[in-house]
Symmetry: C2
Subunit: 194 residues, 2 copies
């Protein structure tokens, strides 16, 4: 990793952590991009060269987390023998683990500024496409509809777990919630389960 790349990641992280600090102190609306840039020691222009919008700085994933996530997917692609939904469940458990630091922050930001709920959803867009492709590869029949349905439903189940989870509770509770939600969604919601 050359000097240039290292500096870039460092700048990214400085800007992001500064932003999160200010936002959690004053609230999202009360912090301007100007403020963040100044506090992080870069220009407004530079801020926008790192993040496409003010919202992005609050919701984008760390590049390294993203890389870890891709690795996770590639490692898992080999054992085609496991049932899809089982593998999917484990995958989401891993995602939850990966995002364990991240989720409480997100939830706090969204809680005090509900208008950001949409952007929060959008934050999944950075890792979701890979997952979708992964599902498509695993579903032998080349069924567009089924791929989309499995993907969207599994994601909805995951989001439900995140939504219901109380950040004050332990990480294990979240992981258990994720497993429960995916089990229910996989087993069928038409008939009540115990």
């Amino acid at each position: 990793m050359g000097l240039r790349e290292r500096k870039k990641l460092a700048a990214w992280r400085t800007i992001r952590s500064t932003a999160l600090r200010l936002i959690s102190e004053r609230g999202f609306d009360a912090v301007s991009v100007e403020d963040i840039a100044a506090e992080a020691g870069v220009s407004r222009t530079t801020f926008f060269s790192y993040f496409p919008s003010k919202e992005a700085v609050a919701f984008e994933f760390d590049p390294l987390d993203l890389q870890r996530w891709r690795t996770l997917l590639e490692d898992d692609v080999d054992d085609d023998d496991r049932p899809l939904w089982e593998a999917l469940t484990d995958l989401f458990v891993d995602v939850a683990r990966l995002l364990s630091e991240w989720l409480p922050v997100q939830k706090r930001v969204v809680a005090d500024c509900p208008g950001l709920a949409n952007s929060a959803r959008g934050s999944c867009d950075s890792f979701a496409p890979d997952l979708r492709a992964w599902i498509g590869r695993r579903l032998t029949d080349d069924d567009e509809l089924r791929t989309a349905l499995v993907f969207n439903t599994a994601l909805a189940a995951f989001m439900t777990a995140v939504e219901v989870w109380d950040p004050d509770d332990s990480l294990d509770e979240l992981l258990e919630l994720v497993r429960t939600c995916l089990r229910w969604a996989g087993a069928g919601l038409a008939h009540p389960v115990s």
Copy 2:
């Protein structure tokens, strides 16, 4: 309905249809709120008194549709004897019928301006809360998790149908897709269905 209310609805519709026309002509980004207001014969300020944002004008539902939707829910609340998931499926079929004019427009707008995908999701927020409450009422046990899961999953299935549907195809195809998606999601996705 007094004169005041009638005028208001009329203005709402004028602004909205003007906006949609301009947007479909020039694309979302190439139309300013100024343009829309001018073309609709109101001031910029008035525009923002009707719609909270430029995006909202492209995605908010017609007040009358919303009212019809609420009626639909109330009518359906009586027959508690039908299985929940069946009632839910019919409900979404009705929603699809209600939005049949609307969906193709949405899809076109989003297609030529992908950044709006999040806002498009948000458009469900106007009718979703009612649905969620409805589900909560139907689930006898007062289970927060289960309510959220059923709601999110059903919505995801519905969105999948919309996503896969080609607006050039007939409305019946959409309705059939909605039924298929909800059936699959309800029956359980863990095991492949024919």
